[in-house]
Symmetry: D2
Subunit: 324 residues, 4 copies
């Protein structure tokens, strides 16, 4: 019997696939809806029972996953298409009034390349909350009030990020918060090619239970949306997948090797720990060109958020106000 | 009659010198005390009457100015000496109990070299507020709880920096706040060679009156100390000084030119505006090697703050915990 | 009598204007041709006698100056228009055969913001010399062989840049070299809004005579083109202009002040030295937002060079191969 | 039968250990000598027959490996100790006359964190070749002429790095060249904790045979020394090690599983390809804190090279001339 906890992934889509396996049956408490375009696949999933949430290891809520594997080839036209899809899905998820102000929080550490997605996205936003008093009314009326913050990680600030965000929300009083963060996926192909939106906020450690670290509606008092992009795969996932694959292949060929296929989780973990020792948990796998991939996908996400926040500002005008 | 408002400087020492001029008399409401070493001059000034504050254009309070012109030559030994002086003066000014927690705020824009001092200093701090629960007691007892934040400028966040800091202070509840910022001096020689400490906090626009932008005890409810280093001279200062010098020299040589020396402030401003048009206010003068100077002085300030905050941690151990 | 040597500018256009002054007469040995568009002014100048070269303090050759003051407002559409003009003028100046290979050299120091233009432009190029063996023939036929190098400055390498470039030219054997460099202008308005092309190569110190530092056809054996953008004004220029302006205004108003207007160059230099002491020559004036301006204009120049080098590659396809 | 070609490592020490396995016997054609200190292990290996070179997959020559696992804990004192060991071993390997000039080449791509070691080391060097004419004789006599270059990778320049270096060597005529490069190790523990020196120069692809890419005495005409530090482990190594470990453990427990242990190389490669598809060769494993580790070790290497090149300059004076 398989459980999602074997798979270290921040993507609801991957957790769902892992639990469902190859079986045909649906998982109770989860609805899934796919919209497939020539270059982009959008999957809208809702986890609506606590049982399903526990089974998948994900918070109850709505998740939208945007997959565009060809982003890896750095196609500018596809980048703009994905930004447009992100804008459309984010706007639908948030359903804001035109006058609602929004705070965008870029999580992560700007000193660690794969963790710098959040700060980089924030750096590409059209921040406008302070502008509206100083620009001509015809522009002000077309601009949503957007604020932005890249607070840094606990190791840089000494303060739980959830606490910093809550303090700023208390003073700036936005109607909603968007948090942008780098994720870990199970599959290498997803690095910088998949974007996950959610209306759940962020629970570091998934309910392990440090409430000051959470960035959720419960903690902040306003709706919190999350945008995440996988930028790493944990090394332990690679080792785990290697074991699973060899087990299944051997078993298929020679039924006598049943015992290997049934290798229990404990033994697997012990084996993997020996291979990756002594730094098992902190090892990540990335493509060599990760610096470039993260720069590209950060622009895509910033472009999508900008378009969702300021639908009246066209791309040409947007470029004047941002560093896109 | 001269007024400090002719001089665009953030240094109380320069404002004082400008008002006092070459005359021998003291300025009422100001005490000045100098301690001169072979390489470093420390001047402790107190502005203790509202009249003196208005005359100098500076908030009432205590100011400590550390001058070490030879820092420009990038001498490592002198850098360490200045960091030591800064540590000593800062500790004396703040007079903390060992268990008092401190939040250090690095003001400024990390995307603009001369304005990046604050964020760079914060990046070099031994941030410890979160560590104390996780390190051995013998280390925890020697570490003060220090938190750090580089919130960015209004143009990056859309939120007044004073509001962000207040929100974080409300949540993290430090006993005191230190703000670090890049300053403008009158004299080029001061760039990256002078450090000003003050117990006044920071009033952007010096009382022009945006209370949400202030980072002061009034605004935050806890003592606020400021550390500033000149990183630019305004171009208008260069033009102004050129005019003053030519006027005084000509007058000395040929008394008939008295009218030029008496050139009124309005005409001077009009002349300067023509030279610097159209960007008068936003032009800054820096040495070519400003990137290197700012990196060096940021290390000096971070080193001084670290030593003041954690007197029980020696330099060798400090290096393990910081990126010095 | 005025001479160009009073003005510290790297722009032939400014040297020409300074020498010509307000008089109506043409300068012998120089032809000037202007093409004025709604947003962009292109001036093509040729200096074709040694006397004119000496008078202007510029090498004999062709100079094309592209002026677009509105670039300061960061208009994306104008940026693309200027890149297009640059591509057209560079292609006309170089007049290459489709199979000619080109080496682009980005001069300057990546550690000093205003001097980083050259390295940044090189970072945005579609470098293709090595690709042609590995891409499909239909792409290879549309790509010119372009190589690129950002060698760093003498202080970083210990080797005269001209020597490094010559060594690489000897091995890579390009048909032509383009050098990209940050310039000093006389006027602040030109910072990041003016682009100068020339077929003269680069003579640091303008003939002062360190042949190993030159990057010219004489030194390299192949044609050398220069692309320069002003990123600073020397502080001495600001002081000088202030003096000139005050002198001319005073003289106009009160003829008795003739002596001031006639203030000789020596006295001016002495005054300026006192104002800017001790760092006269190394002080530069920039707008506060110089980091952003240099990033923008570097993209414009890289885009123009890419379009000139690879006319068969459209903007969409270009984006795939570059970091534009 | 095992061969070194199964292990993707750039370290001669790891290749030697893999070939030797657990057996007691020495490998003919290789001498090994260890010097073990409390914190640092130095292994001097010489490969002196073509047969041994082929067996190990390494060029004939002398290799010195410096191992200091505790570097991972960022101990400043140990960093200085390792820099001292590096200086001593490099000086012994190169055996220079005091007047010999040296060119240091930092290989790698500054845009890709784990590949940026070479450029970062070069940025920390005391470059002096150009200074000697301008400094007081008593300093000039104590400075070796050191030049430095970070040419970038083929994808950035379009020119084989070996060609660039040869062109520069032709012009600058150093007596010897040191190349600094990031390596791949087999073991994660070695990342940023092991330094390899060699007198072999660098053969990308280990003799696969692109002579223009080599940086060797044969190619340049002067002695070439290499300094390398592992900054990644290939993901394929992790998968491979996982397979090997499970095979050996299973076999030990249940002899019937002999076939798995004997799984041939082809099947292993096929399995690994499926796990890592589609990017097998370009996936790297790093610790999360790789940005910080590379910054630290780059300083250690730069410090060691500086001390080896300029033995008469003490650490205090060194700091004045470098950005250490």
């Amino acid at each position: 019997m398989f459980s999602a906890s074997d798979v270290r992934t921040d993507l609801a889509l991957e957790a769902h696939a892992a639990v469902r396996g190859t079986g045909p049956q649906d998982i109770p408490g989860v609805t899934v809806n796919e919209e497939r375009g020539p270059n982009v696949l959008v999957t809208r999933m809702e986890i609506f029972t606590p049982q399903a949430a526990q089974l998948l290891g994900k918070t109850m809520g709505r998740y939208v996953t945007i997959e565009a594997p060809a982003l890896r080839r750095r196609n500018r036209q596809l980048q703009e298409e994905v930004a447009g899809v992100l804008a459309r899905e984010l706007a639908a998820l948030m359903n804001l009034n035109p006058w609602d102000e929004v705070l965008v929080v870029g999580l992560g550490n700007w000193n660690a390349t794969p963790d710098a997605l959040g700060p980089r996205v924030v750096g590409g936003l059209l921040v406008s909350r302070h502008l509206r008093a100083h620009v001509p009314p015809e522009l002000a009326n077309r601009l949503r009030g957007v604020a932005a913050l890249a607070p840094g990680v606990l190791g840089l600030t000494g303060i739980e990020t959830g606490e910093i965000v809550r303090g700023v929300v208390d003073r700036a009083a936005p109607h909603a918060v968007i948090v942008v963060d780098a994720l870990a996926a199970r599959s290498i192909d997803r690095i910088a090619t998949t974007i996950q939106l959610a209306d759940t906020g962020i629970n570091p450690g998934s309910g392990v239970g440090n409430p000051r670290a959470s960035i959720t509606r419960d903690n902040l008092g306003v709706p919190v949306y999350a945008i995440g992009v996988p930028t790493v795969v944990h090394a332990v996932t690679i080792a785990n997948d290697t074991l699973d694959l060899v087990a299944s292949q051997l078993q298929a060929q020679e039924p006598a090797w049943q015992p290997l296929a049934a290798m229990d989780r404990e033994r697997k973990h012990s084996l993997i720990s020996q291979v990756l020792s002594p730094a098992v948990g902190d090892l990540v796998v990335t493509p060599k060109e990760i610096d470039v991939l993260i720069r590209d996908i950060s622009r895509v996400v910033a472009g999508g958020v900008n378009a969702a926040m300021h639908p009246a500002i066209g791309p040409e005008e947007m470029a004047i106000y941002t560093d896109a």
